[in-house]
């Protein structure tokens, strides 16, 4: 596709997202909070029909064949509207599946989510679990929205293995998260598994990491816009509080961080699409996620502060952005982890030589 085609496709994606990711009305989001599975299967099917899972999947596999630039645009829209459906996880999963599972997944009939983390901050330490006699034993943690999955693809020492979510030897523990969703802990006890691919973990996880950064960018942008609206209209001491210089300057600093995040995410998407899986691309992804995680926490914290008392209530929507940031900032590795990885992938010879 030409640059023009891609840019047009991205505009279309953003527009079509607006139909489902309704950022000005968070009613659906509020209703789904703290329920199980915490998202809506009908909406999920609509998303699948729009091709959202297949955006970056090659066309020969039934995908749209757009790159991370397009995926990031979509994720940004979803982040703005705090969409709870597990698009990031499911997109990771389809990269590990064989051709025969794809149609049901892409249509939304079947939801398969990935289970690959054995520990907290699993990005750096995860150990895949072994397959013995066609079964697995062990524990996988931090599977977002696990209670809504029909099956899991599990990172095993022998490749990605498919496990039925309703397998009687699979126990699912659910821990709710601040944003209204949940993490699942999967305990396998001689659970039957069928190996579906030997796709390496790093690439799909990096793409999910970048998608998470883009989602956070949406959270950041929307939190800033809502706060600006509030500052323009809320009157105290006889004037709109947005006319107070200390709040103006703070908003400038937050907007600058948001602009840096946007540039960083776009840069990483461009670099990934140009040379997927290169050291440079991994470094750029880590850079974007570090920036997005830090900025999201900073911006949503300050958004609460500038909303004052009303910001400290659960009924005001601004708090939902803070809660979402609390969950997504550490997901797929927090800022500290990605700083370390950036330094590993991109040692500083360049600067040293400058």
């Amino acid at each position: 596709m030409s640059a023009h085609d891609i840019s047009e496709a991205i505009s279309m994606i953003r527009e079509s997202a607006a139909g489902i990711a309704v950022r000005h009305d968070l009613g659906r989001i509020r209703k789904l909070r703290y329920s199980v599975p915490g998202f809506d299967r009908t909406t999920w099917r609509n998303m699948c029909e729009m091709g959202w899972l297949a955006l970056s999947l090659p066309e020969e596999k039934g995908g749209v064949g757009l790159g991370m630039t397009a995926s990031c645009a979509l994720m940004e829209e979803l982040g703005r509207a705090l969409v709870p459906e597990p698009v990031i996880g499911a997109t990771l999963a389809i990269q590990t599946l064989g051709d025969d599972q794809l149609p049901d997944v892409l249509s939304g009939e079947k939801m398969i989510l990935p289970a690959w983390q054995t520990t907290r901050s699993g990005m750096s330490t995860s150990d895949p679990i072994p397959v013995e006699n066609g079964t697995v034993n062990g524990v996988m943690r931090y599977v977002p929205m696990a209670a809504g999955a029909d099956a899991f693809v599990v990172a095993t020492a022998n490749g990605w293995g498919l496990v039925d979510a309703h397998s009687p030897t699979l126990a699912l523990d659910v821990a709710q998260t601040q944003d209204g969703g949940h993490y699942g802990t999967l305990t396998f006890s001689g659970t039957p598994v069928s190996i579906v691919s030997d796709t390496a973990l790093a690439g799909p996880v990096a793409q999910a990491t970048l998608a998470t950064a883009a989602y956070l960018l949406g959270v950041i942008d929307e939190a800033i816009e809502r706060t600006l609206d509030y500052l323009r209209t809320r009157v105290q001491f006889g004037k709109p509080i947005g006319s107070f210089q200390s709040l103006q300057h703070r908003m400038v600093d937050l907007s600058l961080e948001a602009a840096l995040t946007r540039a960083s995410v776009a840069d990483a998407a461009r670099i990934w699409d140009g040379s997927p899986g290169s050291s440079k691309a991994y470094a750029a992804v880590s850079r974007a996620k570090a920036r997005a995680s830090t900025t999201a926490m900073l911006v949503t914290r300050q958004a609460i502060q500038m909303h004052g008392g009303i910001g400290y209530t659960d009924e005001h929507d601004i708090g939902l952005y803070l809660r979402k940031a609390m969950v997504m900032a550490p997901a797929y590795g927090d800022a500290a982890l990605h700083r370390k990885r950036f330094a590993q992938y991109m040692p500083d010879h360049a600067e040293a030589a400058a």
């Binding site: 907290r120 821990a175 998260t177 944003d179 004052g308 400290y312 609390m326 997901a331």
Partner: protein, 387 residues
């Protein structure tokens, strides 16, 4: 020791160390164990046993004079009382009647008001809530619009209050109401006492960010109360309320909240295996230094109180610093908690591993009791004398 042993005639006659030990023993013996360091503000049903224990011992009102049933503590002794309560992690009861209304009635109330209300506060019969803030009068409190109009022998109250702590538990509310709309907005405000079961009073709880129903909105729709329920002079409510913002202000800057959070940061760091991480350790040490320096600054103000001085606007420094430190500590908690920092419930069900709860609670600290922005405005004018 039985509770009678704590009913002294003159606490101030004790030496400071002896009094400190007395408070410490009292808490160890009589504070209910299950509500030490509660993760949220307790409702009346949870706090009642502890409130009644304090009442029985005569320990409810450290600052009230003896003649009104208080402990009559000197400033120095009050600081010790507060320090030991905080150090122990004593639960805060619904104490607005004791902390705010009592001193106001003692100073400005009529003989009849004192005789009627003070004993009922001390007996636990009346639990009070505070009606100051309104939706359009937060940091700019003087803009309040809830009004009381005299109709014969009764005040008729219409309007709305917000951020009323534990309103659903309260029997009475003391509130600021507008009784005159002419003149400057700080003038024309009066101080009124209203029973919560009066017809026309409606309470709507508000969940806070930590999903606790600590606050409420309270609506007043043609609520009628006797003329005598007004405290002090009419239209002088603002002056009276401000005059009482004296001694209490130092509480907002007490280091204990930050100290508690720091101890929880350490537990969390141990839990996630970060204590040996040099970058974490350096930041943790910096927070320890920040806390120690805050304690030194707090002690300077406490010393001034002990010497009988009154505190100026610079006491706002304490609140500003404590709340900022409290927030920085909880932010570092989330930074090291990884995915667990996004959980809704404490980690592994351990109440002491609840970075999320502390983080969210800390958000309120820079908003309530005078937002940090307003504190800075005050200091800039009153202390730094900037134009």
């Amino acid at each position: 020791m039985s509770i009678e042993r704590y009913q002294l005639d003159d606490f101030n006659a004790l030496g400071d160390p002896e009094f400190r030990l007395l408070v410490r023993y009292f808490l160890r013996e009589h504070h209910p164990v299950d509500i030490i360091n509660p993760p949220k503000r307790l409702h009346w049903d949870e706090a009642e046993p502890w409130y009644m224990t304090l009442a029985e011992a005569g320990w409810l009102a450290p600052a009230w004079p003896r003649e009104h049933g208080g402990m009559g503590l000197s400033a120095a002794k009050q600081l010790i009382y507060m320090d030991e309560f905080e150090r122990f992690g004593a639960a805060r009861t619904p104490d607005h009647g004791i902390m705010l209304l009592g001193p106001l009635l003692i100073r400005y109330g009529s003989e009849a008001q004192r005789a009627h209300f003070l004993p009922r506060i001390l007996s636990g019969e009346h639990i009070w809530c505070q009606g100051y803030s309104e939706p359009n009068a937060g940091s700019d409190l003087a803009s309040l619009r809830t009004e009381a109009v005299l109709d014969g022998d009764e005040w008729v109250v219409n309007g709305q209050k917000i951020w009323t702590t534990l309103a659903g538990d309260a029997d009475w509310i003391f509130m600021l109401v507008r009784t005159d709309k002419s003149g400057k907005k700080q003038e024309g405000i009066s101080f009124l006492l209203v029973p919560m079961d009066a017809p026309g009073v409606t309470v709507r709880p508000i969940d806070n960010l930590d999903l606790q129903d600590e606050f409420s909105e309270v609506f007043f729709d043609d609520v009628r109360v006797p003329k005598d329920n007004l405290v002090g002079e009419v239209n002088k409510g603002w002056t009276m309320a401000k005059a009482l913002l004296g001694f209490e202000r130092i509480f907002l800057g007490s280091p204990r909240q930050a100290a508690h959070a720091l101890s929880r940061l350490r537990l969390l760091a141990g839990h996630v295996g970060m204590l040996d991480d040099p970058c974490f350790f350096d930041r943790y040490t910096q927070l320890r230094l920040d806390l120690a320096d805050h304690e030194a600054l707090f002690e300077e103000s406490a010393d001034r109180l002990r010497r009988g001085e009154t505190l100026g606007a610079d006491v706002s420094f304490l609140k500003l610093n404590q709340t900022s430190l409290f927030q920085r500590i909880t932010e570092l908690m989330l930074e090291i908690a990884g995915e667990d920092g996004g959980l809704l419930e404490p980690i592994e069900g351990n109440r002491d591993l609840n970075p999320m709860g502390l983080f969210l609670t800390a958000r309120a600290a820079t908003i309530y009791g005078g937002a940090s922005e307003v504190q800075r405005n005050i200091i800039a004018k009153a202390v730094l004398e900037l134009p």
